[in-house]
């Protein structure tokens, strides 16, 4: 078995606001192997985006990583010297954001922005820079890359802009890309397209991918493994097929049930009763307990993430194993 690429243990990122401490991420652990695609799934407020930012060291004040470790390629990222961390960003780990309309700088051409990202780590001649840019743009499926390189972001459609963002992430051939809901802001038809393209890209280039999303359906077609997050913690983790066919955490089951695809036509969509808790004042014990049909007194104590053979669950009353 190849060495793990990324090992996150007990990561916690808290935000120290005027209103109190928001524990956006409070105990996240997972591992990632080279070439693997991990789907990080959760509703808004579950802490999945902050997890992504924490990996890259992009948490803005008043937030900061308060405990835990992130071992990437054998090196500890938490507490790493900022200059060293910066050198790794873009080169070894890259990130694609949700809304390409706000990620790309509107007053710079695509060429200029790609050049900035490229020359942040390497010195190349202008011609070499341009050649490399055209190369990656072609890889992500932009037609007529040579000419469109000199256009401005607003002259592209949403889908094309996201492709540019992905291209920028690919410039240095990083072994890990974190994609934070990259298709959420796009039209549904484009979503499917980009998803397929990412899948083949990952297969071809062999990059590891962490795909953050709120949509189990999207993730299921792409990911090798799925980790479900709730209230800043991972509650279930395992190979995609296993998690989807045999969810063991009630929350995962709830998510699956609420998918339109799992609902008979004409029937109301199933919902998980209750609402996501405020991360400011989490009650003690299992954060999902108020919404869980299986909760009892045991759930007043927070469950640990328990698991073996690449399958973990954080629950006192995991759902039964279904025979395969």
């Amino acid at each position: 078995m190849t060495m793990t690429l990324l090992e996150v243990s007990d990561l916690a990122t808290h935000f120290f606001t005027r209103a109190g401490i928001v524990k956006a991420v409070d105990g996240v652990s997972f591992t990632l192997h080279p070439g693997e695609v991990l789907g990080l799934v959760g509703e808004s407020g579950s802490g999945k985006t902050v997890t992504g930012f924490s990996l890259l060291g992009l948490v803005d004040p008043p937030g900061r990583i308060v405990r835990g470790s992130i071992r990437f390629e054998g090196r500890e990222l938490v507490g790493m010297d900022p200059v060293q961390l910066r050198r790794m960003r873009g080169r070894r780990l890259a990130m694609v954001f949700q809304d390409p309309a706000t990620t790309l700088n509107p007053v710079l051409t695509i060429a200029a922005q790609m050049r900035l990202a490229l020359t942040a780590h390497e010195r190349r001649s202008a011609a070499a820079v341009r050649a490399r840019c055209i190369e990656v743009l072609t890889i992500v499926g932009m037609p007529d890359a040579g000419r469109r390189l000199d256009a401005y972001p607003h002259q592209f459609s949403g889908g094309m802009r996201q492709r540019v963002a992905i291209a920028i992430a690919l410039l240095h051939r990083p072994p890990l890309i974190v994609a934070d809901e990259p298709t959420t802001a796009l039209d549904v038809s484009i979503q499917a397209q980009i998803l397929t393209e990412m899948k083949s890209l990952v297969g071809e280039i062999g990059t590891s991918l962490i795909w953050i999303s709120h949509d189990l359906a999207t993730v299921s077609s792409l990911a090798d493994r799925i980790a479900v997050m709730y209230a800043g913690r991972i509650v279930e983790d395992g190979p995609t097929v296993a998690v989807l066919r045999n969810p063991r955490h009630p929350y995962t089951q709830g998510l699956l049930d609420s998918l339109p695809a799992h609902t008979e036509p004409g029937r109301e969509l199933a919902q998980i009763r209750g609402t996501t808790p405020s991360l400011l004042n989490l009650p003690a014990g299992c954060p999902f307990a108020p919404r869980c049909d299986h909760a009892d007194a045991a759930c007043d104590i927070e469950p640990d993430l328990v698991g073996s053979a690449g399958r973990s669950i954080r629950c006192h009353h995991p759902l039964e194993v279904v025979a395969a």
Binding site: F53, R86, G90, T103, A120
Partner: protein, 323 residues
């Protein structure tokens, strides 16, 4: 792009026309129009002559047409006090004001933007707080008072710099400039500093607000995620993004600075247009007042027009809309 330029030129012409009408009505039609052109102490004969000459006995729209005609030919009347054509009077004073204003604006921008950017980049640092406190003072305190304090401290108490006047000049392109001589520079420093403070404070605050906002944006996060250095982020992303609102205010305040030159020139006895207008108001030299207003209106329209052009240059999103 050309269509846009033409559109703005036409708008500018319309505004000029409206301004000229307002000035005409304000000065020539209200009250005693004849008093605008001649000194109050001339004989009845000359008075009657001038009335006939200028056609004040003619209907109003004819008078306006005549007025426009005169203005377009560059005839803005004759100053009572100096007994010379107002146009040449104005042109002789213009370089001094230009010098002062440009020095002030240059200073305000070159110092204000970096200070503001730093304050926005590290908003909780001691330096940032000091900068922001100083900027509140800078735009609260009336220009004339700062001038007084500057004179008190640097001229009266320390004796380092002169308290007024323009100092020696040297000629360049047939015009007298004082920044070309050392003595002239010594005289230029205090008034330029005085005039620049308001704009400096404004630029600093704006740069800070803009920087703070942009630093929290996705664009900066993405740039950092790509591993770009903080210096690159500040120069290539933040600076470019904040220049749009900065240029807006720069343009608006340019006019204001020109206007406030009136105050600075009075305090420092700087022989420019500002002092001219104040003296003219005091001595009721109305042809000069009229000319000043027309000139100022023209300058403002030009500034606005130039600002519009610069916008389109700065923000590529506007070019698409215009073409």
């Amino acid at each position: 792009m050309l269509g846009f330029a033409i559109q703005r030129v036409l708008q500018a012409l319309v505004v000029m026309l409206v301004m000229s009408l307002l000035v005409f009505v304000g000065v020539f039609a209200i009250g005693n129009p004849i008093d605008v052109l001649i000194a109050p102490d001339v004989t009845q004969e000359i008075r009657a002559q001038t009335i006939a000459q200028y056609g004040f006995d003619r209907p109003l729209h004819e008078q306006y047409a005549a007025f426009l005609g005169r203005v377009l030919h560059g005839d803005l009347g004759r100053s009572f006090v100096f007994n010379m054509p107002v146009t040449s009077l104005i042109f002789s004073r213009l370089p001094a004001t230009l010098e002062l204003t440009l020095a002030a604006v240059f200073f305000a921008t070159v110092l204000g933007v970096p200070l503001g950017m730093y304050a926005g980049y590290r908003p909780d640092s001691v330096a940032a707080r000091v900068i922001m406190a100083a900027s509140v003072v800078g735009f609260s305190v009336p220009t004339f008072w700062i001038g007084l304090v500057l004179i008190l401290v640097f001229a009266v108490n320390l004796g380092w710099l002169p308290a007024g006047g323009r100092g020696e000049t040297a000629t360049l392109f047939g015009v007298e400039w004082s920044f070309l001589t050392l003595d002239g520079l010594r005289h230029l420093i205090l008034p330029a500093l005085n005039l620049s403070l308001f704009k400096l404070a404004l630029m600093t605050r704006l740069a800070r607000a803009g920087t703070r906002e942009v630093m929290l944006s996705d664009t900066v996060k993405f740039a950092r995620a790509a591993g770009e250095s903080e210096w690159t982020v500040l120069r290539q992303h933040v600076l470019r993004l904040i220049s749009i609102p900065l240029v807006t205010v720069f343009g608006l305040e340019l006019g204001s600075t020109l206007a406030f030159a009136v105050v600075t020139e009075t305090i420092f006895s700087w022989p420019g247009l500002g002092k001219l207008i104040i003296d003219s108001i005091a001595s009721l030299d109305r042809p000069v007042m009229v000319a000043y207003l027309v000139l100022v209106a023209f300058v403002f329209i030009m500034i606005n027009f130039t600002m519009d052009l610069i916008y389109v240059g700065l923000d590529p999103r506007l070019r698409k809309a215009r073409s």
